[in-house]
Each structure stands twice: as C-alpha cells, then as structure tokens.
Symmetry: C2
C-alpha cells in the first residue's frame, strides 16, 4: 500500500452510475414516474440482468445464491481468500414506488466496483476484493418477511422457509425466482470484512439540516405483530346485530388504537397498519377472518416496550368489543442497535475529504445492512430525499446528491479495499487526492 | 278448468327435488360442508348444466339470455303466448357459503315444473305455462352489483354495463360467462303473470315463532354506499406521523362509526362494511387508497334516511381525522316496499291446505323477487334457517322444512297455472285434494 495512490475519477463513475440507473429505472416503470418492481417479478428479472451484465462487463464474476441474492465479485486483490469489502442494497420495490429506494445502493456499488477495477488495471494495488450485492426481497411487498435475502445470507432466516413463502395469489418465492431464472445454486461469498450500504434517507432529517451525507449511527427498534381476528361468517342483512362477530370491526378498532399509541409519544413512536387481508371480503357477508400487520417503531427501548404492551392490550380489547377471537401468529422484534463507530468515522472522513456536510443520524426504516449488523463492521450512508417522500412514485433524490453519496462511498470503498477491508485501518490513510480526472 | 282436479303428488316431487339438490350441492362443495360457487365460475357452470339437463329431461325448453339467466320453460298451456307462472332464484353463492341459499328456490322450481308437466301428461289442463329460472349473479360476491341477472331482466340494469363489470382479478362477467359456456343469445321470456320465489329465511323469525312458512309482506330498505378514501403512499418507518395521510386509518374510523349507527336503533337498523380493498396493501407502506362498501338496512324510511345522513357525515369525519380525501363513486337505495296482498293470500291458503303454520314477515335480505316487484305480482316464501345461520357453510334448513316449502310452492304453482297465472283467480279455487298419491 502506498499513500500516494489516489481514488478513481468521480466523474467517470458518476456517468456509469447514471447510465445503469436510468436503464434499470425502465424496468417496471409506471406512468406516474415511479416503478412497480415486486420481488421476483419479470421487471425484477430484467433489472437483475442489467445489473449482472454491467458488472460482468466491468470485469466482475457474478454469483447467484439459492435465495436469488446476486453477488458481483470484483477480484482486486489478486489472491484467493482475500478479504472482502461489500456494498449493495436491493432492486425490488413496493407497488408504485420511487426509483431510488434500494436501486441507488445497488447501482452505486456496481459503478464503484467498475471504478476500482479500472484503478487496478491502471496499476493500483488492493488488499481486499470488492463485492456489489443485490439482496433479494427487501421490501416485503410481495413475499414476507421483509429484508429476506440479506437475513438469509446472515443466517437469521432459513432459505427453505423463505423460499416456501407465498405471495397473495399463492405463488412461492421458489417458483417466482425460478420463473425469472434467478433461483441460483452458487455458494454465497463469506461474510465481508466490512459492509457499507448507500441509501436514500426517506425522511426529512438531512433536508432540514441542509446536510448532504447522513451517517447512520443507530437504527430504530421495530416491533411487528401479525394479528388474526376470527369471527363468524354471516349475512349482513338479516343477522341480528348483537349476534354478529365481525372480524373487520375488530380490525377497525385496532387500527384506530394503533394510531393512538403513536400519538401518545409525538415524534418518538411511529406506528402503522399497512396491510390487511379480509375473508371473504364480499359486500353482503360479515367478515369471518381478518389478518393484519401492526408495526411500532421507536429509538427508545422503554417506549417500544410500552407501545408493544399497549398494542397487545388493544388487540385483546378490539377482539372483545367485536365479539371475535384474536391470535398472534408471529411477533418479530428488530432491536435498537448502534452501528460501529469505526465505519461511521470512515464515512465522516470521506465526506470531509469531498467537502460535503455530513450529519450523524438514526435510521427509522430497516435496511439490508441491519441484517449484517453484529456479524461484521456495517455502515449505512444516507443522501437526502426531497421533502422526505418515500414508498411513493414522487420519491426524488437530486442528481447532485446522488453523486455526492456516490463520491463518498467510492472514497470509502477505495480506502477499505486498500486496507484489507478493515475500517480502522482504512481510516489511517492520509487524505488521497484525485489526480487522474483533474477535477474536485 | 275444473275444481275437481288435483295437485300432483308431493312425495314424488320431493324425491326429484332431493336428487337434484344433492347433485348440485356437489358443485363447488367445500370441506366444511358448504359450497363456494361464485358467479360464472366452473362450479357455477357445472350446477347450471345439472339444472338445464334435469329441466330438459322433464320436458322443458331451456333458454339462456345475454346475461346468462337460464329459463326452463314448461309448456303446459298448449297455446303460444299463454301467460307465464315463474318461479326460481339463483345458483351462485358467496365464498364458503351454505348449500341452500338460492339453490333451494331454483331446484324447487325445476321439480315443480317437472311435477306440473307430469300432471299435464296425466290429463290435467292448464291456462298458463310454467318457467323455472336461475338468475345470474345474485350474491354480488364476484361481480357487482348483487341481484344482477334479475335486475337486468327487469330492465333496472343494462346488460352491457353488467357484462363489462370485472371481478377482483380483472376478468369481466362477459369473459367469465363465455368461459363456462353460458353467455347466451336467447331472448328472455316476457314478464310473468306471477313470480314466486322460495328461499331459506337466513334469520331467526320463523324459528322463534315455531312457524314453517314465512310469507314475505315487505322488504327492508337498503342504502349501499361505495366509498373511496384517497391518502398518500408513504413509508411506514421514517415518515413523521403528522405528515401521514393514511387511507386505511380513515376506513377504520368509518367502519367503527357505521357499527355505532346501527347500535343507536337496536333491532331497527342493520349496518355493515363487508368488503374493503386496500392499495398498495404492503406492511411497510402507508395505504394510499381504500375502497369500501357501507350498507345500511331498515324497515323504517325515516330511520333509513337518518342512518344514511349519519353515514355520510361519518365518511367526511373519518376523512378529516386521517387527513385524506373521500369520494362516493356510487350510492344505491333499495326502497322499503310492500309485496302484493293477493300473492301473500295465495301462499297463506296453500300453507293452510298443507296444514303448515305460516307467518307474515319482512325480508331483510334482498332477493331476485325484489327486482320484479312492481312489474308483476311477486311473492317470496321463506322456510326456517336453523339458528338463523346464513352466508356460512353451517347454513341448514331441515329436510322436513325444505319439503314443506316445496309442497306449498307446488300448490301455489298448480293453482296459478290453472288460473292463467293470476294470483287473484288462483285464490278462487276450492281446496284441491291430493288424490293420485294417496297420502296427505
């Protein structure tokens, strides 16, 4: 390693980034300017091919594991068993969602891999390989749970269980991945020496602070409770009201109360019910069964616990009021956790070098990086979302902000790959300068 | 016409009824002992074939009109243009529903047509023809509106509009009927001189009164309002709570309030929300759009109006509380109406002759007969539903009660067909006795 080496030219990386990003944005494009690219859909398949083709063209070997995660390996170190720097996110989206969520991080990683590969060809030496990853099914829109592919890679979820999950029309993830040709058999690479995820903020913090780079130091805890209310199917006409056991009425009471829970602690607890499945869902039939997903988030353990207890009480009370029974098929808790200081410091340094204003902040949303948290040094870098709009076709991050995040991530990746993937050692480099492109 | 003629033997008619009823009950049979026979589904197609085959075998000509209504014409009068006595109901069902709702009336009509045809072959003379009808899409479970086929026949709905309606996966009624071979081109028969519908009660009135035959004198009014709440799609994580415009939260407030409206007037107003469609319906997305069906029923015009006004206010208030907008794509009102006395008196006389206890009562549920009300003399005859269970696999009417209703309807049909279809003239006959079968 020499301290006189330099990061690749940001302009060329940005051009490659925009070209691939625009091409992938066409996969599942909606009339409203967004995308519908549900996990393992044909549109997801198209996007996956574009990602893999671009990575291969840039010199990567692309592996697809049994859950469809795609790993584009850029062999920089030149020795088998070299440590790995990994960056990425997900190409799947919600229905009528924005183009940036997830895709930004995957395309940035591919462009960075290509830039490092060019640097290597130009004589740069690296101690770590680089891997750009596209994780399967982060959104949870079609297949549940969310953050599925990275959780499987991290050993938090069995591939078998994830693959046998079904979408709302009964198709399994195995069938859907098979259908688009991405049910792989490659062995996933080992855990990286460091994992970094570039993502749009999806909130208002950066915009309000007029900062460009968000350095995530903590993730909010999230308690997710699947609830099933079971009433009795009956005719909505003659059935006397006191005899009705209406599962949808119970759900209505619960949905209203879940909102009340968040309103008790303004800004400190977020809550929602985003999904509800009603049976038989006919205008003339008292609903017999309702399945819904309750979600509570907070950065305060005590509040998250108290909110969860209130939600459990609300489930029982809603069932009592409607005369139905309640069951809870699953409860999941994503705990509040800090992200490692060394990775935050590295990002902070890279932002400073690029003369960008950064801010340490929380992530409220879950990200694939959270799956790897605790298993390897893990970081998340945010760029601003205009007006905080997320999971919406109008989601926007301005090109200059996209490029700013890309430049910071490129610097971080370069340092990490020079330093055998270790964030602590990557920090020790003296500030490199861009010599090749000639612009700052 | 001679007053010494006699109604056909009830035992043979009952045997034919049970044979056909059991065969049709197998179409769409569920593990729970009920049926799922959605309108124009393959199971509906099977049931339609069984009905048509049985009617043809008994000597009927079977017509299928452009909306799939099936008319089995038993030519009893021997002269073209003879008046028509019509009986029937529907073979479609809700999801996981009972076997009796609708099917009872269709199979009874087919069996009665066969019995009258046998009587004619044995020398009986009739002044009216008999028609057993299966109306398309009464339930509204798959295609809306409910009571679709009879409303089209009655001129209340355009066939074109009904046929272009789509189910939840986008299939039109035209495609679905074409798929099962029941998109007909026959001209429907003209309005009958009298229409009578035999149906299970689906309530508790007969059972509580220990009566076997319900004579419907009035139908409850029903106000049905389709509501759309439009909010804004957003991320359930980082989006600040005060910024969320959650369409499902508005729906929850409305569903709870719709129940409150009924609870203000116990036993006098029924209400429900049985169907709700949420978009995008993903656990991590604030719902952007919710469509739901509000239904209010009452036998009191003033209450129905007051309940409807309260529902409209509740829609606006629910939208305000959740920060979303509300629209009402459709409002339909089925008015409170009396059924003609003459038909009620005829059924009453027939029940007396059969030594069955009858009761004059309301119908809260809508039936195909209501489509024809006001266009021709129209009657509805109920038999008891065990424990009032309806739109549920556990729906049950005991064989003895099925046969009691069948016997009363057979007597009424016999009298009507003898009397040129006129309920007033049918009443004038002296009590006929069953001579042929030898049992009473």
């Amino acid at each position: 390693m020499t301290s006189s080496s330099s990061v690749p030219e940001a302009g060329e990386t940005a051009r490659a980034f925009h070209a691939l990003f625009d091409a992938i944005s066409a996969c599942g494009a909606t009339a409203g300017g967004g995308i519908t690219r549900l996990c393992a859909s044909p549109a997801d398949g198209e996007a996956r091919h574009l990602f893999a083709d671009a990575a291969r063209e840039a010199g990567a070997e692309v592996l697809t594991d049994e859950i469809g995660n795609q790993f584009a390996l850029f062999r920089l170190a030149g020795s088998p068993g070299a440590p790995l720097t990994m960056m990425g996110s997900h190409l799947d989206s919600q229905t009528r969602a924005g183009r940036f969520d997830g895709t930004y991080g995957v395309v940035a990683a591919a462009s960075i891999g290509a830039a490092l590969m060019r640097a290597r060809r130009n004589g740069e030496t690296f101690g770590a390989d680089f891997c750009a990853v596209n994780w399967t099914g982060e959104e949870g829109a079609r297949f549940r749970p969310s953050i599925l592919g990275s959780a499987t890679y991290a050993g938090l979820l069995r591939a078998e269980d994830a693959l046998s999950g079904r979408d709302d029309v009964g198709i399994t993830l195995r069938e859907a991945l098979g259908g688009i040709g991405f049910l792989g058999s490659d062995r996933a690479p080992p855990l990286p020496a460091c994992y970094l995820e570039l993502h749009v903020e999806q909130g208002l913090v950066l915009e309000k602070a007029q900062a460009t780079i968000g350095i995530v130091t903590r993730n909010w805890g999230a308690a997710k409770v699947e609830v099933v209310f079971t009433g009795e199917q009956a005719h909505t006409g003659p059935t006397p009201m006191p005899r009705r056991r209406d599962a949808l009425l119970a759900a209505a009471h619960l949905i209203a109360e879940v909102r009340e829970i968040a309103d008790r602690w303004p800004g400190r607890v977020h809550s929602s019910v985003g999904r509800i499945v009603v049976e038989p869902n006919s205008p003339n039939v008292v609903p017999a069964r309702v399945e819904l997903s309750v979600e509570l988030r907070s950065a305060d353990d005590r509040l998250l616990t108290e909110a969860s207890l209130r939600a459990e009480a609300a489930i029982a009370e809603a069932a009592r009021r409607a005369g139905v029974s309640a069951s809870i098929p699953s409860r999941t808790l994503r705990p509040i956790r800090a992200l490692p200081e060394a990775v935050c410091d590295l990002v902070s340094t890279c932002a400073e070098e690029a003369s960008l204003r950064s801010l340490r902040m929380d992530t409220v949303a879950g990200h694939d990086a959270i799956s790897l948290l605790g298993l390897c040094p893990t970081g998340i870098v945010f760029v601003p979302s205009v007006d905080g709009v997320a999971h919406n076709e109008a989601e926007l991050t301005r090109p200059a902000d996209l490029e700013a995040g890309l430049a910071v991530a490129l610097r971080a990746a370069w340092r990490l790959c020079r330093a055998d993937g270790s964030p602590e050692r990557a920090l020790l480099f003296r500030s490199p300068t861009e010599t090749r492109g000639g612009r700052r």
